[in-house]
Symmetry: C2
Subunit: 148 residues, 2 copies
DNA sequence: ACAAAAACCCAGTGGAGTGGTAGGATTAAG
DNA sequence: CTTAATCCTACCACTCCACTGGGTTTTTGT
């Protein structure tokens, strides 16, 4: 039940872009430095995010990325779906389930109701938070409660 | 965001034991046959479940496993925790977080609130369903709505 | 014109984890 | 004393994750 770094870094990067693109497009180099991530790895995330219509890109020097929609219209769930595929704790309880999913309909399927319930919980949690929410929170937490 | 087979098979096995242990302990061989799973793989799940106090075992011929608590007092979450470790969509939002978790408290941690919210959703979903619930459901679904 | 900065693309790679199998030792029933 | 079961440990094939690197194209600034 772990998110991969793709999803995690993707959200970090999108928040970074959201918070820094007021003065122009944000380069991956800048994101990588601020967030402490690998630039070349971020490239692999930016591609899909652009193709999915969450990011716009500007090529060439001084280029970079901007949000393709306003921050309030992009949810964490949107990002996760692009980078990790449809939300599905188990294969037989996927969001985009095809015609009918039959997992060798023995007693095993008894558990399916739990997995569907679990999936719906995850979907609700991820879709209920937008980039705007995270940005707002970030600004507020400026005087950050330091651990240690 | 996928559950591993350990968790899935573990729940299947526990339901099987719950539904078949009224006449005596249930052998892993029987579980494996009914559920279509590998017996030797199930052994690896039964060990931890026993040590965690969810299963009792009876060794020797005619031996097997019974629930260590009543079915209503064992949740799906209990099983998952034993077989997959603490519920934590990302490391910095684990259930059993130690003293303080600091994920390089740069802007990256901005997303932490989402992960915590996500974790809590998962925990609530998994802890709200007991083996008894699943057994009840299984009996009801006897005339099973066949796919195809 | 040209150098630098950026997005793009794609191929490869090391390590860790997943999903098992194999073999044996112990325990108890018939 | 054979058989059926739990128990324990080691091993293995495979996949996927997290990255790295090399190279191409596009644009800006000098």
């Amino acid at each position: 039940m772990k998110l991969s770094t793709k999803g995690r870094y993707g959200v970090m990067a999108m928040v970074d872009v959201a918070m820094n693109s007021d003065v122009g497009p944000v380069s991956l180099k800048a994101v990588a430095e601020r967030q402490g991530l690998s630039e070349s790895y971020l490239e692999q995330l930016a591609g899909p995010l652009r193709k999915a219509g969450l990011l716009n890109s500007v090529r060439g020097a001084q280029g970079g990325y901007t949000l393709a929609r306003e921050a309030g219209a992009i949810t964490v769930g949107d990002i996760i779906r692009v980078l990790e595929g449809p939300i599905a704790p188990v294969d037989c309880a996927s969001e985009d389930e095809g015609p009918v999913q039959h997992c060798a309909h023995s007693q095993g399927c008894v558990a399916k109701s739990v997995w569907v319930k679990l999936r719906d919980s995850i979907v609700r949690a991820l879709d209920s938070v937008s980039l705007a929410d995270l940005c707002e929170e970030a600004k507020h937490d400026d005087g950050y409660p330091l651990p240690l």
